[in-house]
Symmetry: C2
Subunit: 477 residues, 2 copies
């Protein structure tokens, strides 16, 4: 794809005008209303048209009975018309000079049924004839906060440096939401479903040269053109950090992707080899993908794998150590001189003055905790610090005391010479979530990388370290 064509994908992420074709007029809770709700919530500030053959009005906005009815030109159409009506819409759009149509609706090749496959083939044919580019079908389309485009009214309004291309609308919503709660912000997100016209390679080639994108996250079920995609990955991996979640990695999963987006999946082994070769961070689950994004966004990359662990509770301290070492991180012995420094103002009983430093009861004294953090921060043999706390490790009524601790963490992260990660185990119990969630939000607002589990933190930090090691080795080679 030439550079000129790449540039042209810009309009998908910041269309000069949008028409919502197929929006339901009568029922404000109907699913087809989600795009209007989202664009309204995001205060979309360019022309926006609603189209439904029945006409009428929604929130004081005129509903046009056809595309032809719209008085001005339209660049981009989001379609919620039923699958059988999709080809007709393309022809209407062609007459209107529309550049691209996002078909949200399902009922195409992913059904595995003849009718759906035929309909999708028809879309491809019409796209080639008319020059109109198609996103989808069977997907949620674009989220680009800086241009005020979203398919979900709840998504963050702020823009970030992460791009995300995903074949699944659900997995897009889940990641944007979960990573979003932890402070990750997105630049350009594309849920592209069946990829009958524009596909993963188009988006990847475009994002590889996008100046505002630093990280490209991907949920890929299958690719249309393996050779082209490999080249696109290779190029993008030179410019950006790539994180890949391959859906349909197993035999059953591959069958599922065929049914979900009609994609051909490829074996897990092939994908693993590709990730290794191109230094792409491969993950297996959405929580892992969010963890890696958090590590990449909020943790300065440690110079090595040695960690000082600092937290509460003897048993949890043992288990976090096991998890960190299982994922290839190292928890070195605390030198005696450092131990003695901490011992000066800490009692031995109820504390483990080693590494992990289970700081037991003393943890709750802000002065002592900050003193210990400062001492550990000057320990030359460790590359980063991880603090672990959370629900289940303390009674809920003690959680408000966490406020003081957060202050310490803030002070530490501001002056710290060493990278810091926080494991804060959240709670799903309402009365505890009421206390724990604001603490997580506070930590996130301080740009602290927050992980929800020992394993999640260990796996993500290890993956980012491996990625960075390979990057540096290549730079040196």
């Amino acid at each position: 794809m030439s550079n000129a064509v790449q540039q042209s994908l810009d309009y998908l992420f910041r269309p000069s005008s949008i028409a919502l074709a197929g929006i339901t007029v009568a029922n404000p809770d109907h699913w087809t209303r989600v795009f209007l709700d989202a664009l309204t919530a995001f205060e979309f500030d360019r022309p926006l048209y609603l189209v439904n053959p029945r006409g009428g009005e929604i929130n004081g906005r005129k509903v046009y009975t056809s595309m032809a009815d719209i008085p001005d030109s339209v660049e981009y159409v989001i379609s919620t018309v039923s699958a059988p009506a999709a080809p007709g819409l393309i022809m209407e759009c062609a007459r209107k000079g529309v550049r691209a149509v996002h078909f949200c609706t399902s009922g195409f090749s992913e059904t595995g049924e003849e009718e759906g496959i035929k309909l999708q083939n028809k879309l491809v044919e019409l796209s080639r004839q008319t020059g109109i580019r198609i996103i989808g079908p069977n997907c949620m389309g674009v989220y680009c906060p800086e241009s005020r485009v979203s398919f979900n009214p709840e998504f963050p309004r702020e823009s970030g440096s992460v791009a995300y291309i995903s074949q699944s609308g659900g997995n897009t919503a889940i990641l944007v939401r979960d990573a979003g709660l932890r402070g990750v912000r997105f630049r350009k997100v594309m849920s592209y479903g069946n990829a009958c016209d524009l596909n993963e390679s188009d988006f990847l080639e475009y994002l590889a040269t996008d100046p505002d994108t630093k990280i490209i996250a991907m949920y890929i079920e299958g690719v249309r053109d393996g050779m082209r995609f490999r080249k696109a990955l290779e190029k993008a991996a030179r410019e950006k950090t790539l994180v890949l979640l391959k859906g349909g990695a197993t035999e059953g999963g591959a069958r599922a992707t065929a049914s979900h987006t009609g994609a051909l999946a490829g074996s897990q082994r092939t994908w693993n080899a590709l990730c290794k070769q191109l230094n792409i961070i491969g993950v297996d689950t959405l929580p892992e993908l969010a963890d890696v994004l958090v590590a990449l966004e909020f943790m300065s990359i440690p110079e090595g794998r040695n960690v000082a662990l600092l937290g509460g509770g003897g048993g949890p301290s043992v288990l976090i150590t096991d998890q960190f070492e299982r994922y290839g991180l190292k928890v070195p012995r605390l030198p005696e001189d450092i131990r003695l420094k901490i011992r000066e103002y800490s009692q031995a009983a109820g504390n483990m003055l080693r590494n992990p430093i289970d700081y037991g009861q003393n943890m709750w004294e802000a002065g002592k905790f900050s003193k210990t953090l400062n001492i550990v921060n000057r320990w030359a043999d460790v590359d980063f610090i991880t603090i672990y706390l959370g629900a289940g490790m303390m009674p809920p009524e003690m959680m408000p005391m966490m406020a003081g601790l957060i202050q310490e963490v803030l002070e530490l992260t501001r002056d710290a010479s060493k990278p810091l990660a926080m494991v804060f185990v959240p709670s799903i119990v309402p009365r505890e979530a009421d206390v724990a969630f604001p603490i997580i939000k506070k930590l996130v607002s301080l740009k602290c990388p927050v992980f929800y589990s020992f394993e999640g933190a260990a796996k993500a930090i290890s993956a980012v370290l491996s990625h960075d090691g390979q990057r540096l080795a290549r730079l040196r080679a």
Copy 2:
């Protein structure tokens, strides 16, 4: 240990009288008050005495100034006296005819400091001299709801069939709480810390013949006598289902256990081999331990590894399939005749009528959902059904509609010929937890095995299947 001695450990779990030695009189929020709070909350109905040299009164209860002061005999003492006062307390208890003392306080060999090690050695010496058995030091002791003994006022009041011996008080509280939220109930729980006298082998030998215990869960950091423990495991594994979380499995973790309970850890490889040989279910984390207990308690063991997956969302459907197959479960193709039966009343668009059966929009119609469940339930080639739903997969305002679904699940689990598992992804966001948590509680009250993640369900169900397969093979051999 002879059978007579084994019987004698009964009194630890149902003491005829308890004295709380070292309880603070002045400050009701002091940590030493937790045992009184817990015994009060559990309505402990045998004689309970409070002891502190300063005397006084707590909630209308007399505080005796010494053990000698107590007018009646005392069987069991829970001590929160400081470490240096512990030897003196044993002598007082000996004069009183006490059978066992649980030393909660830390400051012994786990500190790695000479003074603490000496103090612990002194306790062992006095235990041998006086015949008083010691639990601990550095632990939380007994939780046995049927005898109204607990160290935590929040623990469930109901008794179950799971025993749990744990070297960490924190890891005891976390497991009882987290497994408890999912319906698991405990028979006899022992947090035994440094194990200077009574140790893992004593408790395991006792529990192996305990008629009310079906499952024995263990958090073990290290063992005193490897040969004896191995024999105890062997014997217990013949009688009960054993689940083992080994703390300190890694090099750093082993160093941490030395510092936590002074235990010698042994290598991960040794422990893995032991688990395999004795058909013990080995786990690496507390959430995994809870998952396995949930599977053992609430899921009839499937006859094989073939699963029908039924849930919401195309992307999540692909990912749960991958996770199930990664852990050795099989997601077989849906036969065409079954697909056509479901197709009769379901549209193809927005649904994946394969396996996984992403039931998309149709899922929200209770009638159709129950119909599909019934059809799948008659599918001869699958051994169990897993339904997946939860926060992130739907807007919070849609969650109340889950009520209808739960009704279906209830109906299904009542008449089902196939075992059923539920993955319900919870939320940590307060307004969502307010809706999601009651749904989880409802499912739990219906005796439904609830897992919080795709991976958690897959790993636990696979582990239980492997365990059962080995058990059956041994029975046949």
